[in-house]
């Protein structure tokens, strides 16, 4: 699969292109992934801000920007419903597949995992490069679909047929083709991660000494590896439906705008949903696990004490990964499920919430007895905890099929998962950026700007998503072009639309602090050495930024990942790689 002739002689002469663009160095690829992911994230954010205008002020012309978007989208500045649907579908797709996953797995995973396990690189560096480029191609195809005839995909990020098969062809086909590229990218990446973690661990780094972040990536990679292929299969089938007129997902006897649809029929729309959610439920854990990993690292580092239950954390995350393959149909309760199957999926859904409870419990109780430093990464990591708690807890009434009757496809669902992904995952990713930025660049990000970024973001996130839960309880449906204003039952909560939208725009302003900080710190950030956070894991043994090949001497691991404040040690941290740092203690276990 992967070759290893290494021409040591040419090493110094790598040109610009090989070094920064077509690089096979995991750190460069990681940074490429992260930056691309951030750009897509920002793009997805912009799409959403446009939607929020229409939701808050249905039918009102959007000044300036509206006029620029053209008559097929916003004639006279007023958004068309088809454009709204495109924005919705693409916001969801971009955020999930082009923003958070590439940032969390492609970015942090690539950059941090080999460093944390003391490896010189990923096991298959060229596959790694292929994975990035496949992702980029897929992402660009997706985004270009806005310029396709008829516009981008407009059947939601879930692309349910038959709707997705009767909307304009070009956008949906580009969505599907883009998806195939993204899936290929994920498969290449996940094979690479698993092999790397199994094979390239440094001497002494047993599985139970792995930093939790590595565990999270390990489980995540299995989810990607085994859950994505079914969506790939489904994607092929939908492509065939669209391009070769098959009827995998089209039943017989469809009548669209008064005309009988000319297809052979006999297919099943539900089949798509099964295959989609077979991926997409594990996918939501793909969104959250790297985030949990980041938070665990930062919490341990900034409480200056070991995580309180490392082992339960590890077992929970493995169990969570396994269970995530058997809950998918909780997204489909309302499609018409009998008691047996709904009981089955409700039960698995409740079971899967238990490891999440354990993980959160461990993370929270790890604070006990700590000496907490409130720096920017820690603020984001701490905020993650209650935000994920709200998101996770609101999953429970959705997980009971009987309460899901009222809540399904309302803004309650939107509120639920945004609490997990936005103030949850996105905060964790911000925390990770602030935390590992010094390793990647040799400079720290500015603390003041960091705090100016954190507080408004934290407040606005809650102003955005908490009202959505209230709207959902009132019964306001999601994917409403006019924000639901024609419905009487929406009236008691309709005024919240404006509150939410304004909070979303204010949050955009808060991101300016981040963007400025991100670029400014490259030049002006405080220069730091190897280990600015006085941390224990292996990445801090490498120079900042680490050279190609990572470590100056091959690291050896002497102890567990979070040996902070070991009694009898001279410092309050005893790095894994430092033999002399502490009396050789056993890793703490719970």
């Amino acid at each position: 699969m992967e070759e290893t002739h290494h021409d040591d002689h040419h090493h110094e002469e790598l040109g610009f292109w090989r070094k920064y663009v077509f690089s096979v160095d995991h750190k460069v690829i990681g940074i490429q992934y992260a930056i691309t992911g951030l750009v897509f994230l920002f793009f997805g954010f912009c799409l959403m801000m446009l939607m929020r205008w229409q939701i808050a002020y249905p039918g009102r012309a959007l000044p300036i920007i509206g006029g620029l978007l053209g008559d097929t989208r916003m004639p006279g500045g007023v958004m068309l419903p088809e454009f709204y649907n495109q924005l919705g579908a693409m916001h969801g797709t971009i955020m999930v597949f082009l923003g958070v996953v590439p940032l969390g797995v492609g970015g942090f995973g690539n950059f941090v995992v080999p460093l944390q396990i003391g490896a010189p690189d990923m096991a298959f560096p060229r596959l790694n490069m292929a994975s990035y480029w496949s992702f980029l191609v897929g992402g660009v195809i997706m985004c270009l679909s806005f310029f396709a005839p008829g516009g981008a995909a407009q059947a939601g990020w879930t692309s349910y047929p038959p709707l997705s098969e009767i909307t304009p062809v070009a956008g949906q086909v580009m969505w599907l083709v883009g998806m195939v590229f993204l899936i290929t990218s994920s498969l290449l990446g996940s094979v690479n991660f698993i092999v790397t973690i199994i094979q390239l661990r440094a001497k002494g780094l047993s599985f139970m000494r792995l930093p939790f972040f590595v565990w999270a990536q390990f489980v995540t990679s299995f989810l990607l590896l085994l859950a994505f292929p079914p969506l790939e299969a489904a994607g092929f089938m939908q492509l065939m439906d669209r391009l070769l007129d098959t009827s995998f997902f089209l039943p017989s006897g469809l009548v669209v705008s008064g005309e009988v649809l000319a297809v052979s029929g006999g297919g099943s729309p539900i089949l798509w949903q099964h295959l989609f959610w077979f991926l997409a439920h594990p996918e939501v854990y793909v969104l959250i696990l790297p985030a949990l990993g980041i938070v665990a690292e930062i919490v341990a580092n900034n409480t200056r004490k070991p995580l309180w239950g490392y082992k339960s954390l590890v077992y929970s995350v493995i169990f969570l990964g396994f269970m995530s393959f058997v809950v998918w149909a909780h997204h489909m309760f309302i499609t018409g499920m009998g008691t047996v199957m709904s009981a089955f999926f409700q039960t698995t859904t409740m079971i899967i919430s238990i490891p999440s409870v354990v993980i959160l419990t461990v993370l929270i109780l790890s604070l006990w007895g700590g000496s907490i430093r409130f720096n920017t990464p820690m603020l984001f990591a701490l905020a993650f905890l209650p935000m994920f708690a709200i998101g996770g807890l609101t999953g429970l009434p959705l997980g009971f099929s009987s309460t899901d009757i009222h809540l399904h496809d309302t803004y309650y669902v939107i509120g639920h998962f945004h609490y997990v992904v936005a103030p949850g995952t996105i905060f964790a990713l911000f925390a990770g950026i602030y935390y590992w930025y010094p390793k990647a660049t040799g400079r720290k990000m500015n603390e003041t700007l960091g705090k100016l970024h954190f507080w408004p973001s934290f407040i606005c996130m809650n102003l955005i998503f908490f009202p959505m839960l209230m709207q959902g309880l009132a019964g306001l449906n999601r994917r409403m072009y006019d924000g639901g204003e024609i419905y009487a039952h929406a009236q008691p909560v309709i005024h919240l639309n404006e509150v939410i939208s304004i909070a979303a725009w204010v949050m955009a302003l808060a991101q300016i602090f981040f963007i400025v900080n991100f670029f400014l710190s490259l030049k002006t950030g405080e220069k730091i050495g190897e280990n600015p956070w006085r941390a224990t894991t292996l990445e801090w043994a490498a120079p900042s930024p680490p050279p190609h090949g990572n470590f100056l001497t091959e690291p050896v691991v002497y102890r567990g990942p979070y040996e902070y404040s070991v009694p009898g040690a001279s410092e309050d941290f005893s790095p894994q790689f430092d033999e002399a740092a502490a009396p050789n203690s056993e890793p703490v276990t719970a």
């Binding site: 539900i270 077979f278 396994f322 393959f325 149909a329 489909m332 499920m337 009998g338």
Partner: protein
């Protein structure tokens, strides 16, 4: 992994497995001309295919003496394979009916 000494033994096994696969192929085709009931035909064909598949996996792909690590990954995969195979079907079999 395999050494020259035991490779001869392996090769003999390969030939035997080859024979068995050919015989089983003939069996499935022959059975399909018997016009069994659909259920029986499916069951029989799947059993034969599973036997053939296992022969390929165990002998040609050397799963019999593969490392535990790989076997456990495959076990996991097989489990999930059955989830995706059976889950949608089971749900289809349990619709809301009057």
């Amino acid at each position: 992994m395999s050494h020259e000494q035991d490779i001869d033994k392996h090769v003999r096994t390969y030939i035997k497995v080859f024979g068995a696969l050919l015989v089983l192929t003939v069996v499935t085709v022959a059975v399909s001309y018997l016009h069994l009931s659909t259920g029986a035909a499916i069951a029989l064909a799947l059993v034969v295919a599973t036997v053939k598949g296992s022969l390929v996996a165990c002998y040609f792909m050397h799963l019999l003496d593969e490392r535990k690590l790989i076997l456990s990954v495959l076990l996991l995969t097989v489990l999930f394979f059955f989830f995706v195979l059976i889950g949608p079907w089971a749900t289809e079999l349990n619709p809301i009916v009057l």
